[in-house]
């Protein structure tokens, strides 16, 4: 019996690799297992190797597994490309059609299963994926009936016959495999899961759902990997709430349209990845200068330029914090789990209105596209706060005087009136302006308005700016990260602790304004700090040095080859540094 398993299916892009993984994982999720799926794919529609690696566990997992128990291969390339991941005793289930081979001398068992032939005999070779899922299930000793519900949902509208055929393919695959396995069937039998129904979703789903729950009723966006799912989800859902999504001509239009809609009072977001964010930089400055709320999602991918468009990276951090010319107040939040992605998106809309500034929800490809089991999201935790938005009637102003939209206040936040409101007329401009919004170049006014804007975030309230796992008052090492590296760091930490090291972990959720007060004591009480991040220059480490000092104690583990960190990589590199 095993409590955890790593399964991968691979083949050519466009031949149903994704749906094979989907059927397998949805069924297991419904049995109560915790899943974590990560897709390897390329920027093309047909052809090229693709794979979907799925980790199955009886407890929550948030990282790609170090190795592989089962590899399902639809071509030889899949075996050649992924074989090194298989653990001793692992197995390969490969389509007999291409006469699969594995390297000699390995402790891996190859089963050539006639996926295509069995499927063709049952009616169509398209069902080879089902045969493969059936064969996999036999290895895990899972009852094929668990797929009935999922297969009905997917194929039900094509008719009962199609459902039956697919179930038959599943059974045929399982039957063939049982005969092959004989007595060794028990080696990968999965422990029973708790049977609880939980959500199974990608980070982008959670961001999109968070936007709906956070009151967003309009979105303007331009398609890009790995952000498009957010737009696609909202296009399906917003019309039922009277809202809309506009696919704009470019990201400049997306961001400025979102700013226009927010100015007029509708919670509006845009979402993109690095290249799109680069185009939005001027508009972000406009939002900062005009104190217009706006929520912008950045799902980081490999940069620079077009970079690695379908690969994991965390190299936009500095650009998100400092991007746009001049100096503006800006909030950057970096959730590290799907749950956080949901709650942080809801909160982003509140903070944008409360502090009247741009809020960037920073994600990365692994978080945005990694599909995982999620503990229930709580409705009662959703709240809507609109800050100093003026509602109700306003007193008449003396002879066409403007409303003081940019009134200098103690906390720097001014009352906000929406266009259309009687007696609220004011001007909004990216030019430096006086309290009424009218342009002003006076030195005294410039200082007053600059200070007012930058003062707004001095007392920013943010729940849990750092996710802390702090077991030790004095630590041998403090591991620091942000976004999706959390799972790999947590697992590495457990292994380091087993080696007798005292390890604390801080995952930074509010990356700007930097949570110095939270981080300083953790840094002070650690002998060494290791920042784990997916970029080539150690951007988070630089931020940490800038804000809390102790540069001599801070070192980095960096990865920028496009692949997510594995727990073992973090563990091994930590050992080298300690």
């Amino acid at each position: 019996m095993i409590s955890q398993l790593s399964w991968k299916v691979g083949g050519q892009q466009g031949e149903g690799i994704e749906s094979t993984g989907e059927i397998f994982s949805i069924a297991l999720n419904r049995l109560g297992y915790y899943l974590y799926g990560y897709r390897h794919f390329s920027s093309r529609i047909k052809g090229g190797h693709t794979n979907n690696k799925i980790r199955v566990s009886t407890t929550q997992v948030r990282s790609v597994a170090d190795d592989l128990d089962i590899l399902v291969a639809f071509d030889q390339e899949t075996i050649d490309f992924n074989f090194h991941e298989l653990r001793d005793g692992g197995i390969v289930l490969a389509d007999a059609k291409f006469n699969p081979t594995i390297p000699e001398g390995s402790n891996v068992t190859l089963y050539a299963v006639p996926f295509t032939d069995i499927a063709t005999n049952l009616g169509t070779s398209l069902m080879k994926n089902m045969v493969a899922v059936g064969a996999s299930s036999a290895v895990l000793d899972l009852d094929i009936d668990v797929y009935q519900e999922v297969v009905e949902e997917i194929f039900g509208r094509k008719g009962q016959q199609v459902v039956e055929k697919n179930m038959e393919a599943l059974r045929a695959g399982a039957q063939f495999m049982k005969e092959q396995l004989g007595d060794s069937i028990q080696t990968m039998k999965l422990e029973k899961a708790d049977g609880k129904k939980r959500m199974f979703m990608i980070g982008n789903d959670a961001i999109a759902l968070g936007a709906l729950a956070g009151g967003a009723r309009f979105m303007a966006a331009y398609p890009i990997t790995p952000a498009s799912e957010i737009m696609e989800y909202l296009i399906k859902k917003l019309p039922s709430l009277g809202g809309a999504v506009i696919q704009t001509e470019d990201e400049i239009a997306a961001c400025t349209m979102a700013i226009g809609a927010n100015y007029a009072g509708v919670r509006t977001l845009t979402a993109s990845a690095g290249p799109g964010l680069s185009l939005m930089m001027e508009a972000i400055g406009l939002a900062g200068m005009t104190e217009t709320p706006v929520v912008i999602v950045n799902t980081q991918r490999g940069g620079p330029s077009t970079g690695l468009p379908t690969k994991q990276e965390q190299s936009d951090l500095m650009a998100m914090i400092y991007g746009t010319h001049g100096e503006i107040p800006k909030i950057v939040i970096a959730p590290s789990t799907v749950q956080e992605a949901f709650y942080d998106t809801v909160e982003a809309f509140n903070l944008a209105e409360e502090y009247q500034c741009p809020v960037i929800v920073l994600s990365d490809l692994q978080l945005s596209l990694g599909k995982q089991t999620v503990e229930p999201l709580e409705y009662d935790k959703i709240e809507i706060r609109r800050g100093k938005l003026v509602t109700g009637e306003l007193p008449a102003l003396p002879d066409k005087e403007n409303f003081k939209r940019y009134e200098v206040t103690e906390d720097g936040i001014s009352p906000r009136v929406l266009p259309g409101t009687p007696n609220g007329i004011h001007h909004v401009t990216g030019v430096e302006h006086a309290e009424t919004g009218k342009p002003s170049e006076s030195a005294a006014n410039r200082i007053a308005q600059m200070d007012k804007r930058l003062r707004k975030l001095k007392h920013l309230k943010f729940n849990t700016p750092v996710h802390k796992q702090v077991k030790h008052e004095e630590a041998d090492v403090l591991l620091v990260g942000f976004n999706s590296t959390r799972g790999a760091i947590e697992e590495a930490m457990e292994r380091l602790e087993l080696d007798g090291l005292k390890v604390n972990h801080a995952h930074i959720r509010l990356v700007h304004p930097f949570p110095t007060e939270e981080m300083l004591p953790l840094v002070q009480t650690a002998k060494k700090i290791i920042v784990v991040e997916q970029n080539a220059t150690g951007q988070l480490a630089s931020l940490l040095k800038m804000n809390v000092g102790h540069a001599d104690k801070i070192s980095t583990i960096l990865k920028y080859d496009g692949n997510p960190f594995l727990p073992n990589e973090v563990y091994t590199k930590c050992k080298e540094l300690l």
Partner: protein
């Protein structure tokens, strides 16, 4: 009811004496009053440049954005509050150089806003460089030997992009300009009004006199029918785009807001931000 004086404010424009933009400012104020608007019901979104300052010179809600981006901001405002009257305004550099992409897509999207371009064929605020509306041979600081790039035929471009309302006017003709802006505001969809608005400081070629000599009023063309797109295109080509009046209007085409699925009939800004528990549970269940 408000009069045009109610749309005046106390800000002194920083335009040169004699600038065509003064008339555009007056025409917007008059048109707004004539269609029965109160100042708070109007939002003017403008770009960057001399003309871009116009949103600050009219007593209404005003948003002075960034260069070339008045249109997406204005479309966002309208999507958020369909009860507001939204006017976007800017110069030829704003609308036909840096913002051309937005202009074309705003035209084809057909959201119900009015776009007024103050077209002086030159870059004024940066002190005299060529514009995409400058004619071949036009000498400026950036084209000392004369421009070799042809001027963009923007009215034809607008028609090609699927415009439902295209008009052109001259800042000297306050009456016609006011009337066209009124019609543009009333038009259910995107209306483009290009206004020849001479720059008295940097453009010594396309002067008031030059426009008076070269512009042809569509009223003088017998049988001109602004509902006929072919005729509009041919007339524009025949007169090299130098015509004034209502060039084309399609009254049948519905606006974006009326076509897009599910979009609220009441202003979106009034929507309830709270998801009901029932709706939330239903959305969550879809992921299980």
């Amino acid at each position: 009811m408000a009069t045009f004086k109610d749309f005046r404010n106390d800000v002194k424009p920083n335009w040169c004496p004699g600038c065509g933009d003064f008339s555009v400012q007056a025409a917007i104020q008059r048109a707004a009053a004539n269609v029965g608007l109160e100042p708070h019901q109007l939002a003017i979104v403008s770009g960057i440049g001399c003309s871009g300052r116009i949103s600050g010179y009219i007593h209404s809600y005003g948003f002075h954005g960034i260069h070339g981006r008045a249109l997406p901001i204005a479309q966002g405002v309208k999507m958020a509050n369909r009860d507001l009257t939204v006017i976007a305004a800017g110069g030829d550099g704003d609308g036909f150089a840096i913002g051309t992409g937005h202009t074309i897509h705003a035209i084809r999207r057909n959201i119900d806003i009015t776009y007024i371009v103050m077209d002086n064929h030159i870059y004024g605020l940066t002190k005299g460089q060529t514009s995409p509306r400058s004619e071949v041979g036009f000498k400026t600081k950036s084209t000392p030997q004369g421009s070799v790039e042809p001027a963009l035929s923007i009215m034809e471009m607008a028609l090609s992009a699927g415009a439902t309302f295209v008009a052109q006017s001259f800042s000297s003709d306050l009456k016609e300009l006011t009337q066209l802006i009124e019609e543009g505001i009333k038009h259910k969809g995107f209306s483009l009004i290009n206004v020849f608005s001479p720059c008295v400081t940097y453009n010594k070629v396309n002067t008031y006199d030059w426009f008076k000599e070269n512009l042809v009023s569509l009223n003088t063309i017998e049988g001109y029918d602004p509902s006929n797109r072919d005729m509009a295109m041919q007339t524009l080509m025949k007169h090299k785009g130098l015509v004034t009046g209502l060039i084309y209007q399609n009254k049948e085409q519905k606006s974006y807001q009326d076509l897009v699925h599910g979009y609220s009939q009441t202003p979106l800004v009034d929507a309830d931000l709270q998801l009901s528990k029932e709706k939330f549970d239903q959305l969550v269940a879809e992921f299980m």
